[in-house]
């Protein structure tokens, strides 16, 4: 164990701990943009700079190993001044469209500018524009909002393993691009949206959720995905009793299988819930056509028909195809209905199909 003093508070951490972790353990709130605990360190945004007594330069806390007897200040005047300048530099290439931005209210850059009182940038107006709109239907890429934290590049490589994107060009002209700077659909991108999940600003946002509600307007409900058998958990974003999006929970306590990672279906394939084609009333066939009916009429009709068939031909002339998509509770009741109420074991579901 090694000993450090952080903002006047002494703490002990194991050797090899980074200064950022040590500061967080000491209760300091360090701003970070490029840092992501699940990804390899980039140390590029410099937002997490702190001052270590006796050192000539401020250090990026995320990539600096803690050393014995370090004395660290996380909000000293130099640190604050430095973070303000960093924010101004980041703002220089960040299109300020907060009022229409999907990430308004859940944008780290916005939060930090608010925290440090940075309203605009002395360096703005010089940079190039990246008017890149990708024609894919899943998410929007607006690189005029990109702050080059490279979290998207790292998550695409390290979590999904698609390796679809990387940094193209350098300096002011640096941007995130696929190979040959083409469309995502022509790259190895699998549209899992892990990049959207980790983007700290509004550079990458869901097109399916666009305009449907900002994060502070929605209620999030933790649930389990309805597609394959992996059992990923995520949150349904709800506004005015409508599902308007899906966001990930990255805490493994709530997301033990996927830790926030999803696939294209889980993240972008939810709007069938709100489809206009949903069945909203029972239907009964009459003269060859299905017509709307009340629940009582439809249920009576169903039960009477079942009774009649059972009386005439016995319970084994009836069968149930239950559902691999429905819940345990529903499957239990469905088979109980056929076994106990009707009296047949003709119960199956599409496990084989």
């Amino acid at each position: 164990m090694i000993k450090l003093t952080i903002n006047g508070k002494e703490i002990q951490v194991p050797k090899g701990t980074m200064v950022l972790d040590a500061c967080q353990q000491a209760g300091a709130d360090i701003p970070t943009l490029c840092y992501d605990p699940d990804l390899r360190l980039a140390g590029s945004c410099r937002m997490c700079v702190v001052e270590a007594k006796g050192r000539p330069n401020l250090m990026a806390a995320c990539v600096s190993p803690a050393e014995n007897n370090m004395v660290i200040e996380t909000e000293s005047p130099d640190v604050v001044e430095s973070r303000k300048i960093i924010l101004e530099l980041l703002l220089a290439r960040h299109k300020l469209e907060c009022h229409t931005c999907e990430r308004d209210g859940s944008c780290k850059l916005q939060d930090y500018c608010y925290r440090y009182g940075v309203t605009d940038s002395r360096y703005a107006g010089q940079g190039p524009h990246f008017g890149m709109e990708d024609p894919n239907p899943f998410f929007k890429r607006d690189y005029d909002k990109c702050i080059m934290c490279t979290r998207c590049v790292r998550v695409c490589d390290e979590i999904t393993g698609a390796q679809a994107i990387n940094v193209k060009d350098r300096g002011h002209h640096a941007k995130i691009a696929t190979v040959f700077d083409g469309k995502l659909a022509d790259s190895s991108c699998v549209f899992c949206g892990q990049c959207v999940m980790v983007c700290p600003v509004g550079a990458l946002t869901s097109k399916v959720s666009a305009g449907k509600g900002k994060s502070y307007q929605t209620k999030d409900v933790l649930t389990t995905c309805t597609y394959c058998g992996t059992g990923c958990t995520f949150e349904l974003n709800v506004k005015d009793d409508h599902v308007v999006g899906v966001t990930s929970v990255r805490d493994s306590e709530f997301s033990p299988v996927n830790k926030g990672a999803l696939c294209v279906k889980g993240r972008f394939g939810w709007d069938f819930i709100e489809s206009k084609e949903r069945l909203t009333t029972p239907l009964i066939r009459e003269n060859g056509e299905l017509r709307p009916a009340s629940w009582d009429e439809a249920l009576d009709y169903t039960a009477n028909k079942i009774k009649a068939i059972k009386e005439k031909d016995g319970p084994d002339s009836l069968a149930l195809f239950s559902s691999a998509r429905a819940t345990n509770e529903e499957n239990y009741l469905a088979q109980k209905l056929f076994r106990a109420a009707i009296g047949t074991n003709n119960v199956d579901h599409c496990a084989r199909l």
Binding site: V257, V264, I273, L279, N346, V347
Partner: protein, 528 residues
């Protein structure tokens, strides 16, 4: 799965994938496997006729002829036995019928099977050595292994391989079916099968039946019920008169759709409970509107047997009702009262009749789900099965001979057709084809054709063709790609307007599991 998903990311030192295009059908599991291979150096063996994405990082890639799984894996076992790489202690202490298996496997030398499977004998040796040498070897498979007329044999052969190398009962090992639907595991656990009550308790076992009769308060049928394909056949013959279809779409998912359509038309009563007017619902006498996962509470059990919560986020649309209420209403009208106040009350009853779920409660899975078996409230759940002993005591080796698929290519139908899923759609497309982005990205079906095959047939990429089998034909556009080998074509089954299952056969199923042979049909392609 005998083991849990996260072991594929951390614990397995070798992973053998057979008949699973994991990154496309179980993407998140695919990420984990890739991570383990790239960052921890786990070895990867792939056996798949198609050139799946994980093939890029495989140590051995066996692109074998569809339907020859048993010959391939028997040869791997032949190598392991011949080279003395088997787990002698495990075999001696924890298995039986080893000798019978060895006897059968003897003739499956790599050279012999290489001829059958169309792969290099050396690659079979390499695969066998990697898997046998692994400290912790995991086998994963999906429908590519099981949807054959020899599906049960194929699975047993994988079990043989795991037993032979002692790769069971510890983290990072196991025989792991990656199941394709969110709650296919749970539907099986709950007894939505014709031969078992909840927790796989046989309906033909008098003692079990008595227990359920007492619990449910009515006499129960002592006879095994019918599987889906049998129900369809009997409906055809007029023996099944009434069918309730709940959240399924046999008019897209079942083999030989002309046959299915005729069977459904023959019914006196077809009741469909669903969220959309599916192809099956269009044939119904009564359609009852159920709700999506977003509008109800309950639990799903995933492929690793983890029971997790489903939570209601929005109220049901229009007059739609949570499905559990629909079953209660019908049951009450049939004179068998079912009164539950909530899904949690139903779950409480499930716990009492399902020993493997007995220790699981909504409260316990509020955050993290629990793996069954979980026999009591103190039990932490069981991520790894078969640790000390198998359910039956000793692990049973099966002596299995290779059998060819039912329908092989011939002069008239010279191609092998396989069907499966795309990353961008799910099953019969009921949900994904009504998800705007997914359907915009992939609005129609395709048939994947190898460039060599395409050249022989004088067809080009994106050309509309007729894909024909003995059952019928669909019109579909081509995707000329190295994804499939020469002579094999592949199409998706999500699209009702060009439905793959018009083409598949329902005549010869696996005799035990009654699974159709979706991975091998004889087919031909004609220009339009």
């Amino acid at each position: 799965m005998t083991n849990s998903i996260n072991e594929l990311e951390k614990d397995a030192t070798a992973i053998f994938l057979i008949g699973t295009n994991t990154t496309e059908n179980h993407p998140v599991i695919g990420y984990k496997i890739r991570k383990n291979v790239r960052f921890n150096g786990a070895k990867l063996i792939i056996a798949d006729p198609r050139n799946i994405e994980l093939g890029n990082i495989a140590d051995v890639y066996l692109r074998f002829r569809p339907g020859t799984d048993v010959a391939l894996v028997n040869a791997m076992m032949n190598v392991i036995i011949t080279e003395g790489l088997e787990a002698k202690e495990f075999i001696a202490n924890r298995t039986e019928s080893y000798e019978q298996m060895v006897e059968v496997v003897e003739k499956y030398t790599p050279e012999y099977s290489a001829q059958i499977c169309g792969v290099d004998a050396e690659d079979i040796r390499k695969a066998a050595r990697i898997y046998a040498a692994a400290e912790r070897g995991s086998i994963c498979y999906a429908m590519g292994l099981t949807q054959h007329s020899t599906g049960t044999d194929n699975v047993k052969t994988m079990c043989n391989l795991a037993l032979l190398t002692g790769n069971l009962g510890k983290p990072g090992t196991g025989v792991n079916p990656l199941r394709g639907q969110n709650n296919v595991q749970g539907a099986c656990d709950m007894g939505a099968l014709p031969v078992v009550y909840p927790a796989y308790q046989a309906v033909t076992n008098a003692e079990v039946r008595e227990k359920f009769e007492k619990f449910w308060g009515v006499p129960l049928s002592p006879n095994n019920g019918l599987t889906i394909p049998d129900v369809v056949d009997k409906a055809h013959h007029g023996e099944i008169k009434g069918l309730m279809v709940f959240g399924e779409n046999p008019m897209v998912s079942d083999p030989d759709l002309h046959h299915v359509a005729e069977a459904l038309d023959n019914l006196e009563l077809l009741v469909v409970i669903d969220i959309f007017l599916t192809e099956t619902a269009m044939k119904a006498d009564v359609v009852l509107p159920g709700v999506t996962f977003a509008e109800k509470n309950g639990t799903f059990s995933n492929t690793e047997r983890r029971v997790q919560r489903v939570r209601q986020a929005v109220t049901p649309k229009g007059d739609a009702r949570p499905d559990w209420q629909i079953f209660c209403e019908i049951s009450n009208r049939l004179g068998y009262p079912m009164n539950y106040g909530s899904p949690e009350e139903i779950f409480a009853e499930i716990r009492t009749v399902t020993p493997s779920y007995a220790g699981i409660s909504y409260q316990r899975i509020e955050k993290t789900g629990i793996h069954w078996p979980c026999p009591n409230e103190e039990h932490p759940g069981t991520p790894v099965l078969h640790g000390e002993k198998f359910n039956r005591g000793l692990g049973l080796f099966h002596a299995i001979e290779f059998k060819e698929a039912y329908e092989l290519p011939d002069a008239e139908y010279p191609l092998i057709l396989s069907t499966g899923r795309s990353l961008f759609h799910y099953h019969t497309g009921t949900m994904t084809r009504r998800s705007s982005a997914l359907n915009e990205f992939m609005p129609s079906n395709e048939v994947q054709v190898n460039p060599e095959t395409a050249a022989r047939l004088d067809i080009v990429d994106n050309e509309m063709v007729k894909l024909i089998t003995r059952r019928g034909y669909i019109e579909v556009k081509t995707h000329v790609t190295e994804m499939v080998p020469d002579g094999v074509v592949f199409t998706f089954f999500h699209f009702s307007e060009a439905a793959a299952n018009v083409l598949t056969q329902a005549k010869c199923l696996d005799p035990v599991a009654k699974i159709p042979e979706y991975k091998v049909s004889a087919a031909r392609i004609e220009k339009i």
